[in-house]
Amino acid sequence: MTLPTSTAGRVCTGFDHPAQLTRQQFLKNFGMGLGALALSSSLGDQPARGDGVLGGTHRSGRIKRVIYMFNSGGPSQIELFDHKPELKRLHGTELPESVRKGQRLTTMTGSQSSLPLAGSSFAFKRYGDGGNEISELTPHLAGLADDICIIRSMHTEAINHGPAVTYMQTGSQFPGRPSMGAWMDYGLGTENSNLPAFVVLVTKGKGGQPLLSRLWGSGFLPSRYQGVRFRSGKDPVLYLTNPNGVDASARRLMLDRLRELQQAGGRSGKQASDPLLEARIAQYELAFRMQRSIPEATDFSSEPKHIFDEYGKDSKNPGTYAANCLLARRLAERGVRFIQLYHPGWDQHGGLPGGIRNQCRETDQASAALVTDLKRRGLLEDTLVIWGGEFGRTSYCQGKLAPNNYGRDHHPRCFSMWMAGGGGRGGTTYGQTDPFSYNIAENPVHIHDLHATILHLMGIDHERLTFRYQGRQFRLTDVHGNVIQDLLA
């Protein structure tokens, strides 16, 4: 008898897929056999295991994990990384049509009668041996000039926050695709079975453009690959903590009874051999271990004072950006694959000088401390740290140009990011924009290229990490993306 061809044989192409594994091998790969796992009440961490669909990387990767500091709202490249003396000279004059070339503006400034250029209020200097140009707004980052690679030639097509952030996180402007972290989890799995492979940390209490849970969602991938957002309260994970009055001993008793019940075989009384049930039993044991491992990872009480000093005083206040940077390091140490920070508030349509100064005050010290801390612990070698937003800002002023005040609208045609750590070229700047920071003059890097490059650093061929959905193979880079070799050390 012939059974219809199953989809999964065609899930991925070009590499070994679990389709080729036997059931036994498969179960074995999933944590040393479920029975053993289920019966183990050991609180010890599980050893690392590659349980992603790739069953390993395509080639040896430079990095094992990513810490992505997503600064959302559109941080202004002109104030931070893309030094443009020419704009100061032309301050107040109209943006030449020869630069704009009729490209679309948002409807926020599309109707504005005048588009006066605005020079940055902030000074730039060259730092380190590599001479990276860094703004006075980020003095701590300046100290790391030789550890970071600045990309000045990022570009996107999205012009508003929702689509632009979605694009950066999922490779598509429209909802429904998996986020980068979900792809990594799907492809490579976790290094620590007691913690999620993809953790999301959002700065608490920030206004600005709202973030959505779908930004770290799994899209069409199974939902187990979605990012787990750690909350800043007592339950870092939804309902992780036992109810009041129930301590770990009572929970252990209860879980033991539950396991007995599940293994009692129901009415037949026969020991169950059902995979669904085995999975279920194992998940409860994992949940129990997480009740210890997650609070342990999020508990800062063992951190010495000099660490808090280094990250800044906010780092003692859970949920702040600084505390999230410190937590990111702790999670990286514990083998979390993809750690995504979000810090909103960079959307300065007006009052930019004051606004961006505040943003930098909240982020500069801790961002730099994280890189330094990772470096000191030897983790920077196989960790990629990324800092950036969803698009840049216009060289012309939005609203009224005042002597000491101005705003900038969204600008997709160029923006800046920086990267540090494994495989990146510290002390260099990649790509150039025109004197207006309006169009890219040299070495453009599209979002798809960035994604392809990050996957490459992980050891993944971006064209071969695919998932079949709605009848076709999907990937993070859609049908685009080139690895930017010049960004690699």
Binding site: M1, T5, S6, G9, S113, L212, N244, G471
Partner: protein, 1029 residues
Amino acid sequence: MRSLLTGSAVFFVLGATSVAVAADKPVDFVRDVRPILSDKCFKCHGPDENARQGELRLDLEVAARKVLSPGKPADSELLKRIASRDPDHRMPPADSKRTLSSREINILQRWVKQGGRYKAHWSFQPVAAVQVPAVKNGGWCRSPIDRFVLSRLEAGGVVPSREAARERLIRRVTFDLTGLPPTLEQIDAFLADKSDKAFDKVVDRLLESPAFGERMAAEWLDIARYSDSYGYQVDRDRHVWPYRDWVVRAFNSNMPYDQFVTWQLAGDLVPKPTRDSRLATTFNRLHSQKVEGGSTPEEFRVEYVADRNHTFAMAFLGLTLECARCHQHKFDPIAQEEYYQFFAFFNNIDESGVYSYFTSSVPTPTLLLSNDKQKAAMVAAEAKVAESEASWRKVTDQRRAAFGKWLEARKPDARSPSPLPGRVYHNDFEKAPGGANRSVTGRFGKAARLTGDDGIGTGVGNFRRFQPFSVSLWMLTPEEKKRAIIFHRSRAWTDAGSRGYQLMLEDGRLSGSLIHFWPGNALRVVTRRKFPVGDWHHVTMTWDGSNRARGLKIYIDGRPSAVTLVRDNLYKNISGGGGDAITIGQRFRDRGFKNGSVDEFSVFNRRLTDLEVAQLFDGRSLDEALATPADQLTRTQREGLREYFLETVDKPYSDQRQAVQAARKTRCESYDGVTEIMVMSDLDATRRRQTYVLRRGAYDAPTEKVEPGTPASLPPFPADAPRNRLGLARWLTDDGHPLTPRVAVNRLWQQCFGSGLVRTPEDFGSQGLPPTHPALLDWLSRDFVSGGWNLKRTLRQIVLSATYRQDSAASKELVARDPDNLLLARGASYQWPAEMIRDNALWASGLLVDKRGGSPARPYDLAVSFKPVKVDSGEGLYRRSLYTFWKRTGPAPVMMTLDASKRDVCVVKRERTSTPLQACVLLNGPQFIEAARVMGQAMLKKHGENVDAMLVEMFRRLTSRAPTDRERKILRGGFDEQLAYFQADPKRAEVFLKTGKAPVEKGIPAVRIAAAAMVANTLMNFDECVTKR
């Protein structure tokens, strides 16, 4: 953290390896060959012309003959190329990242050898009239369904599983049909009923239960991507739950599926549309909607239409159209042009791509959801307006004599009053205009020259739509403006849906509008002639309070302009939303009147007459008419004076005008108080929106025109059907349609078995899986259509089958042979959907509030969602999960953890996962802890000291069966040790019992309640409680 054996992917994998095609077995093109060609070849040799390589296409038999010689493998270039050892010669090429396995090569070789014939994709072929197959073990079969299943089992030498135990069966079917467990009484009655028809009776009872509609709706709302908020980034709440309640009603009344489909697609176009038929079309408006500042409205409007199109195709045709939006579909026979033919059906409503930021206007088109009382009030108010307007016309006529008398009585030196009556604002711009606007030489003295970014406020003008008003000014435009705001009373442009009124220059013409929500709830007139450029002209806009576009007049240089009616459908207020006073020359995020000049700007709280407007222009028309003796008046002067007399002098006339205004006020208020919902309503023939093929799917890249139509690969569009959504519905629900009934019955099957006969319900195209039982699918489809598209009837057949009644326990051998249960030799087993798990806990504890419909409920977990919402107190905490408030950017976290659909886009099958996060929710979530505690206290109250009896009842309520002795012992052990734990420190029990808002039972020791609650908590996490078995 890693979930272990999760749903589909893994199981399919193992299924695939068991497929081995024997060397000489006949190859089936559709089942074996086309999937290979489609997956590995069509990308470059398929329907897409632009991607085609080497001018070779393999999707058409004739074209493929170039490389295929039927029956002669040795002469077939295709076979040579796929088997070539030369990497430069081999197909697929290395850079395609596609490879053929040796098994696939073998299939292609055998196929060519056997003749290399093509066949249309199975799902595009007509539903076959199939014979119910003969079987050996006819005694096992209860219905034709079973014969199809058994014939396949017998062919493979597999024996069906025995029937599930009765408790298991009633639990399974009660969940499947109503989403709730059976009561103990229902179980006992079924166990006691020894008749042949015992199970039939249960099924019939369930199908008639009102919970049936709720269960069906839970599935449908995923398909309809129903949510109580707009989605995208800002994600405000929206009022769409009346659609959800309609869905429940439709299922409960067993509305035939063809009607169910027709109403949702085209309930506005059916003969004699009703409120419900129109409400059903909300289906097409449930896509995400945008409000983010700076968005380009057309970009998102196109996105809305695309979403409608994709949802239509996936929900009803089981096809994924998305690919064809940008290019020819690579795998299925859907051309890009055909995508836009479908698109055209949904592209013809009066909508905007953004909803209102500053107001809560409902995006148009809308349906007024008036209740009977409101409806009566609206009808009465309309009648009153008609009546008072008729009296007014009569009075106008009757006052001719009075006018004559007045004419005669005029003094020879009569002059028009200055200012004209009703002037509430005047600016002659002799003072500096403010902002960066400049003071320049004007029409009279000085005028304001505008920057376009600096508005001039007036402080007046917050008129309601029943109030007449007039605005007059001199203006000079330096050039022909594409768009410029002259004056307005509103907060912003599209961000506010432009609520208010405005006068603009658009494409060089004056455009006056009154707007509730642009474009569907507004009126607009535009002058036929372009406005003169470069010198001063006088402009007046007058409004008569009538609510109709012809009541809005634009005068240029004292004379009424001929206008085009652009919109005439205002039915809600024009006030509110901020920006309450008239601003001149600028609007937030709109284009101002840059370098334009204005002078002598006046606002009147009445409609000026023609003669008065002329007087404002030339300073003499009215004066001259007033000074002219009656016998020397021209006909125009005389008519002008009569109007002037009536409007400014005559009391009986103005009394009646007041009465009309009062009636109009009542009418406006009767509409303003009625809630609305988004529905479909086509633009009429004169305004029909032309659809274009969009290059790469981009909103701003239209290419050729297309008309509504259906793909060539599917049945022809009925010749006599209109080319609109109603025609589309007729085409779709034609008895001979190959896809509609198959897709529908497949989902019914999925609802009962966890997976459809086609396991890719989202894709009946060539990339989807073929049916496991093609003949059964076709038999069911035919039976469904001939039975009148009767959903309950088909469901009844499915659950009464012996196939459905099988036990889910399977031998190791069977699991190894058929891990995915593709053969259906056993009952289905999987974790119940999110709604059922939560509803079951509420039901078992007695907390479930059995209230149907109405505004959404906000249970505990919404407080910890990503977008926290204030939770309800009282019944909102305990309603069925169908009613839980669904916010797209922060859906109920318990539901999400338990694999509910996100409801961003149409989803026809949920993922099933098993993660420790689910364990956390069921172990510690307050909804579940509270339910366990309430259950514990209720059981203790009922059973007193008889702990064992209590534990048995708990077990029965949560699993529908009695515990075995072993299980009893485990439960008793659990109770005793938890009791000891709480007794060791009774404070533990006190704090534990505080979870949840339900009262704690007084009179029972807290430690006992706590211990009983922990046992209930154990059982609520027990496999048999949350898993279909």
